[in-house]
């Protein structure tokens, strides 16, 4: 009995101590970024060889002030959120419908559609970005909201996640709905969708983060300050001489914080969501 208790305490000590040590090492690059963003420029590289490099000695908000002076932060945030909003709407609604059809409906071309989704999942956008642009130009969508958002609405990875989730829904549930006279589409919207919050949350987070981090496409397809998104704004501080690392760290921190906050709030759904898609018996 006593032995068991000691074991439990020991287990706790190892768990917390181990995780604190490993966790701090793990995020140390990000902590350094955060700390450096509050340092005057000349302090950043001045004491790298001691742990004090993780604590600003002369705390300053000057770097942030510079970022806010330079950028219309509110406009940038709005642009990015509108962009993400449109893309996510398509991804969550149309992508989930497709995923459901692939998982539960026995229709023609289902097999080939699934193969297509898996094959396209491995397609890097950088390799076809120029032809994509040429196509946009032919439709006349260059430098428009449509051109920015529509081509990225469908994400094969999201479709695949929805597919993996829906396939684990028991067939009996769907059969029962059918007996009640529900058609497949109504079954999806009124029975399946409401019980699938977790997978939607998961795809939401994953897609939100990757769209937030988009750089190449917004750079090529849009032009001008009024359409600037977050990652484009980051480029300014990396690219315009003279380069000051304090300001770079501040803008990198600012660009990361919203994602971390969102993740903290949605974490609960997220883990469950992944649980329901990643493993299939």
């Amino acid at each position: 009995m006593n032995n068991k208790k000691i074991n439990k305490v020991l287990g706790n000590v190892i768990f917390y101590l181990g995780n604190i040590v490993v966790g701090l090492i793990f995020v140390s690059p990000l902590l350094w970024m955060l700390a450096s963003s509050f340092k005057p420029e000349l302090e950043i590289f001045s004491n790298l060889n001691s742990l004090s490099t993780f604590v600003p000695a002369h705390f300053t908000l000057q770097n942030y002030v510079e970022v806010f002076q330079r950028l219309k932060v509110f406009t940038i945030l709005k642009n990015t959120l509108v962009y993400i909003g449109i893309v996510l709407f398509g991804d969550l609604l149309l992508g989930s419908m497709f995923g459901y059809a692939l998982a539960k409906l026995k229709y023609r071309f289902r097999g080939i559609s699934l193969t297509l989704v898996i094959a396209l999942m491995s397609m890097p956008v950088e390799a076809i970005i120029l032809p994509m642009y040429i196509e946009m130009a032919q439709i006349g969508w260059v430098n428009t909201m449509l051109g920015l958002t529509i081509p990225f609405m469908m994400n094969c990875f999201s479709i695949y996640m929805f597919y993996s989730y829906f396939i684990s829904i028991p067939d009996e549930l769907i059969e029962a709905a059918k007996v009640d006279g529900c058609g497949p589409i109504r079954t999806y919207f009124s029975i399946v969708m409401p019980i699938s919050k977790t997978v939607f949350a998961t795809v939401f987070i994953l897609d939100f983060v990757s769209r937030w981090n988009d750089f190449m496409w917004p750079f090529l397809i849009t032009t001008g300050e009024e359409k600037r998104t977050v990652q484009l704004a980051v480029q300014i501080f990396v690219g315009v001489s003279p380069i000051h690392y304090g300001v770079i760290m501040a803008v990198l921190t600012l660009a990361s914080i919203p994602m971390i906050i969102m993740y903290i709030f949605m974490q609960k759904f997220y883990v469950e969501g992944i649980a329901s898609t990643g493993i299939k018996g």
Partner: protein, 299 residues
């Protein structure tokens, strides 16, 4: 008997129609904005096309491909892509599994640790790459990692400028950045293993390690397959890291296929040629992803 049959065919008809309705918006978008650009890519791969001269493109049949198969840089890029994939997939997955084992319990505060391990994943690769270029700086006076190495008495390492270490440095950073995601999937997989199995093993006198080998890993087999598949697919696409950190160098050590496509198409303007590399790349990844999918299904 008859009633049953007609009911079945009715259902199939309903499924067929509903299937078309539910999949067509997504399919149309995929065809319009992924398949068509891919078709363009394949099409242009048969032309001599200087990127800023769309008015002057010349059909050259298979010349681009003939050149491609003799191009040493193409094989270097192919080799680098394979090397990155072969190393980063196990490294990242093992790291993710270790982290998952560390935070799979339901102890208080576990969410905080999960957030710590996941946080690099939600920071953009563009940001991470800019940050690590500074961290990896070869001089101990300006690079955090080398400052650390120096303070414990080691020689500084020229991480990104030495052809021997550049790709490994990118691998290390990528595994660190990406592991959080796979960790989450592993946590989910670990939670799904019935506790009775562990209890039974305890009764048999199994220690911590034996449980890992005989209970945990077998229970995770499907999760592992899934994680390997998605990590592999991601790894083949490596681009952002060399684009920002090394420009494909030093001495081509980090030139990947996608980077080479970019370099030829944009930087050097050989758009037709870039399209032929892209086409070969498509064939490789599509074959690979279908094979991987088959394997993970049959086992």
């Amino acid at each position: 008997m008859e009633a049953k049959l007609s009911k079945k065919s009715k259902r199939e008809y309903g499924d067929n129609l509903a299937g078309f309705i539910m999949s067509s918006p997504a399919l149309i978008l995929l065809i319009a904005f992924l398949i068509i650009p891919i078709i363009y890519t394949v099409y242009y791969s048969f032309f001599t096309y200087q990127v800023v001269r769309p008015d002057n493109i010349k059909f050259n049949a298979l010349n681009n491909y003939a050149k491609l198969f003799k191009d040493a840089n193409f094989y270097v890029a192919l080799k680098n892509t394979i090397y990155f994939t072969v190393i980063v997939v196990p490294v990242q997955c093992i790291l993710a599994l270790v982290l998952a084992l560390m935070v799979s319990s339901k102890k208080k505060g576990v969410a905080v640790f999960r957030t710590l391990y996941y946080s690099p994943q939600i920071t953009s690769m563009v940001i991470i790459a800019v940050l690590w270029t500074i961290l990896y700086n070869s001089n101990a006076n300006t690079g955090l990692i080398n400052a650390f190495l120096k303070s414990i008495g080691l020689q500084p390492i020229d991480f990104l400028n030495n052809p021997k270490t550049a790709m490994n440095s990118i691998i290390f950073m990528s595994a660190w950045q990406g592991a959080g995601y796979q960790m989450m999937i592993f946590i989910a997989g670990l939670n799904a293993i019935p506790t009775e199995q562990y209890e039974a093993a305890s009764v048999d006198g199994a220690d911590w390690f034996a449980k890992l080998i005989y209970v945990t890993l077998p229970g995770l087999i499907n999760t592992i397959k899934y994680v390997l598949m998605i990590t592999l697919i991601q790894a083949m696409k490596l681009f952002t890291q060399p684009y920002i950190m090394t420009k494909g160098g030093p001495r081509n050590a980090t030139k990947t296929l996608v980077f080479y496509i970019y370099e030829q198409g944009f930087q050097k303007g050989n758009f037709g040629y870039a399209c032929s590399i892209a086409t070969v790349f498509f064939i490789i990844v599509v074959t690979l992803s279908i094979v991987v999918k088959r394997i993970s299904k049959t086992n």
